[in-house]
């Protein structure tokens, strides 16, 4: 029972401090405030307090609103608008202009067509008017745009001080001192240049020699056709090896020759070769045999490939002669009895069957076949090959309409040795490197660099600092080829012109102009158009008359500048008859191979290393090894086992003229005991991009080669200390055994057949696919609003595709694709929108190679679209899988869900990251295509079928009040493809040429089973093997 009632709580309450939250009063416990409040409470209408507060409060609210408003407005600097003062007629803002010119990066001097925007070159393509390159251009030419905008270029002339550092100096001063040096030169003045194709430059040098009579001109190329031409001269007595009509050939036998990759005018070769791979004229498909030591682009495209060490090629040819003589008793003017093809094949484990086929094909197709020896093979092999072609009557395939034309010949190593000895004993007072880099190119063991120290005045005319400029006292900064005037003649029948598309970006002068200034002397003031005038005068004086045209010169001149080329009908002298006397030099007994052989190969991307500072080329994966940013020693698996090395292990290579270390890369299909190394890498003095990329080959080369300047036999190779990581973009599976045995066929990635199969049944692939294919029904009906008007599609003819990678560079340049650098490639983060997939099958030693360009397939039912949470990738009515960069938040879900893995994510702001902001230099803004977004960090990107070009056509169509025509749109990769393997157009234009390819019997879609309904059709590759094969 409770005791008394507790009523004290009232009092206690009053005693106790309130301790729960009741208002601001407690928050700041302020006595004078509480006092005030109590007053308020006593007289119980707190009007002024509250009234005041309300007004004040409103005021505050207003103020805050105003402040906030002010804060939200945007005060940033939006940049300024700077229009033309005087608008040039040809320029209309936002529309590109095209300039025809000539590429001077290699002796081929192809015609180029430069796309400019508001007077800035932004892309280089081939010039369609050019009779040789016919609108195509190699990777080097395409990438040359990057050389123009290279921040590492020389900004002006330099002079080496006493202390050996380079000082900036004005042109006048530099010229003055140098001209005095020339005037005082009592001994030889050596001008070292690359091959000269320009008649005007030749004339100029002539004048220079006239002024300075003790001048000698030396010219060289790292890779040239001297051996082949000499052999030809021996066999036929005329100057050049003729141009071959590859398109007419039924059987092509390439002996250690990469004529599709790096030899001769590869643009033309590829085009003509591909004409013999037209699926619509399957009857005259050519058959390519490749007999080689390395794994070359040509080899990978061969129907039959035989591995053979280069020094054995001679035996092989002789054995062929023997065999042919045995089969068809054609007389052979030389004794080949010691060469038995059978035993040869047996001895060097060549597939007897293949060899048999080869011989028979040659005999059957005599007159329609060609045997082509690689330029690096020694003379006697070439002579033997000439003989072989002669007796087979293959001379029919020599082009008799046009032949090579040499403006100025090349010097031999001998000449250079003489020069060097002169230099050594002080016989040379001035050396001028005329845009050449002998210090890097000439074999180290010639001791050029050392000899140079003996020369008091060395001048280098170059675009950017290089090994030679390093060791000279004067460096004259020259223009890029896109800033220069010039002309070229490489063949009979036409001239081509070079014109600048932008004024020199830096304080540079065109190399000819510099020489001209020296010739003219300083009392004639330098003007920008100095060489321009000179060129025009020369043409007016010497060439214009020979062309006997009616139009007066000025308009004629403008005419050729417009076209870039001018035709001229010239007769070529006949080749002459085959001289048996030339055979006297040939040994009649087989040569014995021993030890290792080193093959030095021209790098497909970098050539002789002139463009080593070009990020696009450095990052272009070798289409077979898929290796970027480095060269390497490619060896076979057996050899690797013998040397006990893995990929990335170092090996010592000693050719007798120097020991060098290279990282190993095990190349499936490489011949045993041969080491193949690419040229053009290991530049020691080069810009930020090129430095540290790869290894020099000059150390291996010798000025007095025993076998051939590019092939060294009997080489010592051994495991060396340490490793060096070469990064590759694709893991090197050879799908030889279960569970991955030709996995790519099982998965419907690549379908292939043989010509025979196709001829038997045009539908063979269709049927094959039908039975393999699981047809999954679509859940939803085709969207009614889609594809009513145009629908864009692409077709890629794998018969024509050589996997050269030209499309990759074209895409980089067109779509502002960033360079990511070696480390990122190593982490599997390449950015190129189009890539060449390469699959090895069957076996490591004798792999079958299948390649496939892979780009966004623009699927109708694109898996990537469904999963993007922010609808940053959607579909357009005309069938494009669009990418809205600005909407992308970067979940990367689309990349996961893309079965073709063609989406590219910006893992960094690569423009900022690569070589600390190399691509963020002011200069780089100029190269980017203004029509394409420059993507930021964290954004997904991918091929969009060059939507900017589609839009151009749309705009055009609207302006001309017509419908869009699919054929009018030419996407970048399509334009670049040297074999026109890529077709693009409107699927709904039923009668167009494109649609024919779209619904070709050989056409298939990659991964049909996934049923994404792609819009890129692949025309299955037909291998032209013998029926008994398949």
């Amino acid at each position: 029972m409770p005791e008394e009632i507790d009523t004290k709580n009232k009092k206690t309450e009053n005693k106790r401090e309130p301790n729960y939250w009741k208002g601001f009063k407690e928050i700041y416990n302020d006595p004078e405030f509480s006092k005030k409040v109590n007053e308020d409470l006593t007289e119980s209408k707190p009007k002024d307090a509250n009234g005041m507060s309300r007004r004040k409060f409103l005021a505050f609210v207003g103020a805050s609103a105003a402040l906030a408003g002010a804060a939200c407005t945007d005060y940033r600097d939006k940049g300024e608008i700077i229009p033309y003062n005087k608008m040039p007629e040809e320029i209309s803002l936002g529309k590109p202009n095209f300039y025809a010119s000539t590429c001077t990066l290699c002796p081929n001097s192809c015609g180029i067509l430069i796309r400019t925007r508001e007077g800035r070159p932004i892309k280089v393509d081939g010039n369609p008017e050019h009779p040789v390159s016919k609108g195509k251009i190699c990777v080097k030419g395409q990438a040359s745009i990057l050389d123009l905008y290279d921040p590492d270029r020389l900004k002006g002339p330099l002079r080496k001080s006493k202390t050996g550092i380079f000082l900036k100096t004005p042109w006048l001063a530099a010229n003055k001192t140098f001209i005095t040096a020339l005037d005082n030169a009592d001994k030889q003045i050596a001008v070292i240049t690359h091959k000269i194709n320009s008649v005007t430059t030749k004339k100029l040098l002539g004048e220079f020699t006239k002024k300075y009579p003790n001048t000698k001109i030396y010219s060289y190329e790292l890779f040239d056709n001297t051996i082949r031409n000499n052999a030809w001269k021996k066999s036929y007595g005329t100057d050049f090896y003729p141009i071959i009509k590859w398109d007419k050939a039924k059987v092509i036998v390439a002996l250690q020759s990469d004529f599709l990759g790096t030899e001769g005018n590869r643009v033309e070769n590829a085009r003509l070769f591909a004409e013999g791979r037209d699926v619509d004229k399957v009857k005259n498909f050519n058959r390519l045999y490749s007999v080689e030591a390395d794994m070359s682009l040509t080899g990978s495209n061969a129907d039959y490939r035989l591995k053979l060490k280069p020094e054995l090629q001679y035996n092989f040819v002789m054995s062929l002669l023997n065999e042919i003589n045995r089969k068809t008793n054609i007389k052979i003017p030389i004794n080949v009895s010691k060469f038995s093809l059978k035993s040869f094949a047996k001895k060097y484990s060549l597939d007897a069957k293949k060899v048999e086929f080869l011989v028979n094909d040659l005999i059957e197709n005599s007159g329609k076949s060609i045997v082509y020896a690689g330029r690096s093979l020694p003379e006697k092999t070439h002579i033997a090959v000439n003989l072989l072609n002669e007796i087979l009557g293959n001379t029919k395939l020599y082009n008799r309409k046009t032949s090579n034309y040499s403006v100025a010949g090349l010097s031999t190593y001998g000449d250079f040795y003489k020069l060097i000895t002169d230099m050594k004993n002080g016989g040379v007072s001035v050396v001028i490197h005329f845009d050449s880099n002998p210090v890097y190119h000439l074999p180290d063991n010639m001791g050029y660099k050392k000899a140079l120290k003996k020369v008091e005045t060395v001048a280098t005319l170059t675009e950017s600092a290089n090994e030679s400029s390093e060791v000279s006292n004067f460096v004259f900064a020259t223009n890029n080829q896109l800033e220069s005037w010039g002309d070229a003649k490489t063949r009979t029948g036409f001239y081509s012109l070079q014109q600048p598309v932008i004024a020199p970006l830096y304080n540079t002068r065109q190399k000819e102009a510099v020489i001209l200034q020296w010739v003219k002397g300083l009392n004639s003031k330098f003007k920008e158009n100095l060489y321009h005038k000179y060129l025009m005068d020369n043409w007016r004086a010497t060439i214009y008359p020979t062309l006997n045209s009616e139009i007066e010169f000025k308009r004629f001149w403008y005419g050729i500048l417009n076209d870039g080329v001018v035709l001229k009908n010239e007769k070529i002298k006949s080749f002459g008859k085959f001289k048996n006397s030339s055979l006297s030099g040939l040994t009649t007994s087989p040569v014995k191979p021993n030890g290792f052989t080193v093959v030095i190969k021209e790098s497909y991307a970098l050539g002789d290393g002139r463009q080593a500072n070009n990020g696009w080329l450095q990052e272009l994966p070798n289409s077979l090894a898929q290796i970027t940013w480095d060269n390497y020693a490619a060896i076979s698996k057996k050899t690797a086992k013998k040397l006990q090395v893995q990929n990335n292990d170092n090996i010592k290579v000693d050719t007798g003229s120097g020991e060098k270390v290279y990282p190993v890369f095990i190349q499936p299909g490489a011949a045993d005991n041969t080491v193949t190394i690419d040229s053009g890498y290991g530049r020691t003095k080069v810009g930020r991009v090129g430095e540290g990329a790869g290894f020099r080959i000059s150390g291996l080369m010798s000025g007095k080669p025993t076998f051939s300047p590019w092939i060294y036999t009997n080489v010592k190779v051994a495991r060396a200390e340490g490793t060096y990581t070469v990064v590759t973009d694709q893991e090197h599976h050879v799908f030889e055994k279960k569970p991955t045995e030709n996995i790519f066929k099982k998965r419907g990635i690549l379908f292939e057949g043989t010509v025979a199969e196709y001829e038997k049944d045009h539908k063979f692939l269709k049927n094959e696919r039908e039975e393999e294919r699981i047809v999954t029904p679509a859940i939803y009906p085709r969207h009614p609003e889609l594809y009513k008007d145009v629908k864009w599609g692409m077709a890629i003819d794998l018969n024509k595709c050589l996997a050269c990678g030209d499309c990759v560079i074209a895409c980089n340049s067109e779509n502002n694709v960033p360079i990511v650098g070696k480390d990122q490639i190593g982490r599997g983060r390449r950015m190129q929108w189009i890539r060449i997939d390469r699959y090895y099958s069957v076996s490591y030693d004798e792999p079958i190679i299948s390649t496939q360009p892979m780009l966004c397939q623009q699927c109708d039912d694109a898996p990537c679209e469904n999963v993007c949470p922010v609808a940053a990738t959607t579909h357009s009515e005309d069938g494009l899988n669009q990418m809205i960069y600005n909407r992308c938040v970067g979940t990367r879900y689309c990349a996961n869900n893309c079965p073709y893995k063609v989406r590219r994510f910006n893992f960094y702001n690569y423009r900022d990251r690569f070589k600390d902001g190399f691509q963020e230099e002011q200069l780089f803004d100029l190269i980017y295509n203004p029509e394409v977004t420059v993507r930021s960090n964290g954004v997904m990107e991918k091929c969009t079928f060059c939507i900017q070009r589609i839009m151009e056509e749309k705009a055009e169509a609207i302006r001309e009040k017509r419908k869009i025509i699919g054929e009018n749109v030419k996407v970048a990769c399509q334009v670049a493809c040297p074999t026109s393997a890529i077709k693009f157009g409107d699927i709904n234009a039923k009668k167009s040429k494109f649609v024919k390819y779209r619904n070709h019997e050989l056409g298939y879609y990659v991964l049909e089973e996934v049923n994404t309904k792609p819009n890129v059709t692949y025309i299955a590759k037909l291998r032209n093997t013998h029926t008994e094969e398949s």
Partner: protein, 387 residues
Amino acid sequence: MARSDKLYSVAAIFDKPDGIIHAAEKVKDAGYKQFDVNTSYPIHGMDNAMGLSSSKVGYVTLAAGLFGGTFILLFMWWTLAESYPLFIGGKPFFSLPAFFPITFETSILFGAVATFIALITVFFKLPYNNHPLHDTNYMKRVSVDKYGIYILAEDEKFDKDEIIELFKSLGASSIELIYLPKEEKYGMLQPKFMLFLLVVIVGISGATYFTLNKLMYMTPFNWMEYQDKSNPQESSLFFADKRSMRTPVEGTVARGFIPYPYKGIAYPKEVLSNPTLPSKEILKLGKEKYLTFCSPCHGDYGEGTSRLNGQFPTGPTQHSDKVRNYKDGMLYHIITNGQNSMPAYDKQISRKERWAIVDYIRVLQRAKNAKKSDLVEIKKESSTNGQ
């Protein structure tokens, strides 16, 4: 808190759950309405003891949940099919299966949130931090381990002593009288508070400004608003003149722009010949361009009556013999090169358009003095068109 002397309720504490249940029943039976039981955890059977009906909160959940579901479904339909239709993976604009997950989640979200809000605000009438019961010993004890019951003064049967008796009889361990707290007023105007307000305002504005105009444009933020490329007329710091647009090199020729050979010559000896045929399209183009560029001075019909009547030198008529005898090339030359006070138009008007204008001028001239034959022709035209 300060208490007034106005009684709020009489409260009793019990020690055992049985006791409180018993008490609750008795109080109910005694006919009191305004009473409540406080226990630190739900006591079982208390609802029946107090005679409470079961809770209604479930209906709120149901309604809100259903609403949420329907709303989001309609919303998704509206966004993807109405507001901004997009083609995604070849799916129809409205494809139901894909919408199920979100619909489901949202119904639950709405249901839960609505239930919670309703529970707190409607059913509990919370927050209520100065309730008379707070800060009483009674509250302190029931909130830990005791069981309390109280009857409010509002209850019509309320009689203090009677209730105390009742509680005693029920065996309450203690009984407490709870008084209402004093009414408290305090104005919101207080210097420190105002200061606080001001600081907040300035702070927020400052922060907003900084964020929107500075922070958002520092690395790593990138909106691709200003890209590292040169759009037409943009400036480029690389060049001395800050112009990203360059003028082509002197003497170069862009495809299709072979320089006009007679530039700068007032009366060239020879002129170009007209490459165009006066087709319908060409004439239409020519008219369009003529009316745009020529008519202001030369008049719509080329009769030399300027629309600018006199503020600007009036262009000569196109119908003088002189002009009529001009070669096409001459007219083209004048447009391209300008004449007297007429500027050169080669930058504004493309070559094709210039020739089209020439053709159109010819038409105007012909129209001004047409021959009989023309009329016949025209008649034929119209009649054939008629058929």
